[in-house]
Symmetry: C2
Subunit: 350 residues, 2 copies
């Protein structure tokens, strides 16, 4: 089976995904019987190229590395904008990996709407559109008879959405608790090692873990967006970002971290959602976690998520929460899930 | 969609599964659009009953509680043996949950063969047949065009198989490491608290965690069987139980546990498989795990599994590893996965 992919956005995550394809396409074809063929790439700053015969992943990566743009790709149609690429190319799946905007969701939101309206499956790691408009987008996908998957929005390739909705199908998720942001985790880990908040933040910025404007991470917006996605998708809530009670790590002192340590605890930016009356309440705030809890085993850019379930009690998953190839893995597992269900659909009727 | 279930075995796990159905059938129908209908139950010692119209889960549970047998069920056909129940009832799925035999795989192995040959999907939590004959049984399922799922064989309802093969599809599992046996975990946890091995073992027996003959647990056979399943299914190995280098916890002293503790480590019965040359090597043995590792956060009957992957490095899942309802959850998630792929198959062709 062939899945023809239009890739919208070719930054760190888009490149991580294409790196996987460059290395593994023959193996994926052999093991999963699926030919994942990127036919179009469109990026606001890195140019665009469309070739219905398929683009060569290695050639795309070399061009980005050498020229910072795909415009020099030999052959193909150049210069199509993202919406034209979504609507006018011969593609089955739109992979949307443009930068996240938690206020407007754009440009991802318009991209995803256009793709679903055009009857194309959508796979994204873009938190903005899913945190802001999951209800609308999932209805649109249902109406169009296509799939909308977004594993990469929460813990990069570490399964969170598919863990709760598929691997744990039938169990009720009563609550979630997670250490969902790598940057604050890195800063708090450095503070445990005796570094001041300001110095740890500067170090995170130097290493590329934190942005020049670190607000999204240290003030808890990134964790809150992931929490909203989890609450809405796996707990059936209907939360907006503004519904999350939110406190960042700016007020955490080195002394507080050391005091927690002395009592066998670790300070982490904890994201929690729980049922409260008929609704779901959600909070992101620094919390002291006992070392004996699996969530406390998480340092640096590793993240962790505990699902509180009816049949199993707590189930915790620990793994990387960011990275280009790591998030590319989320896109890949979503694509293979789409392939599985398409293959079942084309099998003999029952 | 209706899935008609023949339940072979009605012990702790079978009852745990039926308890879930008794409580949740309406919710499952609403949320997943699937009517999970048990039409037959057959148990070597608790009798059998078949009613093509469906059996009432609550009535089955009351009968077991009050009479220890389903023979008093009002109506239906009584006294069919397990093979007749598998072959002659009008059922879509056989759920095989008879007791595990790691030497012969029986009676589960014959049950599963008969079901697959009869063109029925099979869902099982029975380690014996899968550890001994995964290759044969999966080929048979493919030839018959049906599904064979066995999530419950490794960590009860905590996802291990579906985590590696579906949620992490596309990633290569390079190795696995796990604390896969709850009984030894309980004993080692008690030894950390200062109890001698013999006393901790007797306590585990009193609490029903360990059998009168504790060999399967304390000598590592149970963990080895789970490891063989993992290695063969998620690493593409072809191991037999005898290929696993195996050392139980009988030689672990209270002093060794205390010494590890003093160095910030915990002794656990660790099951590991790794690639070695072109093959896969596997080992079950007591090991000291640093407290900072997520596998060390596991106490008592909680289990944990680390998957070593190419795209994500280590991904660890922590959750219950045994229990009637917990293993019932594994059967349920497998049933819902079968329902998903059947529903896709009956959708419009592409």
């Amino acid at each position: 089976m062939e899945l023809r992919i239009a890739l919208i956005g070719f930054g760190n995550v888009g490149q991580g995904f294409v790196k996987i394809l460059a290395r593994k396409s023959p193996l994926l074809a052999e093991r999963y019987g699926v030919d994942l063929r990127v036919v179009a790439v469109s990026d606001r700053s890195k140019g665009s190229v469309y070739d219905p015969g398929g683009l060569d992943p290695s050639a795309l990566l070399s061009l980005i590395e050498e020229e910072g743009s795909v415009s020099g790709y030999p052959g193909g149609v150049k210069g199509m904008g993202s919406l034209a690429t979504i609507r006018e190319t011969d593609s089955d799946v739109v992979v949307e990996v443009t930068p996240t905007d938690l206020e407007t969701g754009e440009p991802g939101l318009s991209h995803i709407r256009a793709a679903l309206e055009a009857g194309k499956h959508v796979i994204t790691s873009n938190k903005g559109p899913i945190a802001l408009a999951y209800g609308e987008l999932s209805s649109l996908a249902r109406e169009s008879g296509v799939e909308l998957r977004f594993e990469g929005t929460v813990l990069s390739g570490t399964p969170a959405i598919s863990l709760a909705t598929e691997a744990l199908a039938g169990a009720e998720v009563l609550g979630v608790e997670g250490v969902l942001n790598g940057t604050t985790n890195f800063i708090l880990t450095r503070m445990e090692e005796g570094v001041d908040y300001e110095d740890a933040l500067r170090e995170a910025q130097r290493l590329g873990y934190a942005e020049a404007d670190p607000t999204a991470d240290v003030d808890g917006w990134d964790a809150a967006a992931k929490l909203v996605i989890l609450a809405n998708v796996v707990m059936g809530a209907d939360l907006s970002l503004g519904d999350v009670e939110r406190e960042g790590i700016g007020g955490v002192t080195r002394e507080a971290v050391a005091r927690a340590s002395a009592y066998g605890r670790r300070v982490r930016l904890l994201a929690s959602a729980w049922r409260s009356g008929g609704a779901v309440a959600a909070r992101v705030a620094p919390a002291e976690i006992p070392l004996s809890h699996p969530l406390a085993s998480v340092s640096g850019v590793t993240n962790a998520l505990t699902l509180r379930t009816d049949h199993l009690g707590d189930v915790t998953i620990v793994g990387p929460g960011a990275g280009g190839v790591e998030t590319g893995q989320a896109l890949l597992s979503d694509l293979l899930a789409v392939a599985r269900s398409l293959r079942a659909r084309s099998g003999p009727p029952l």
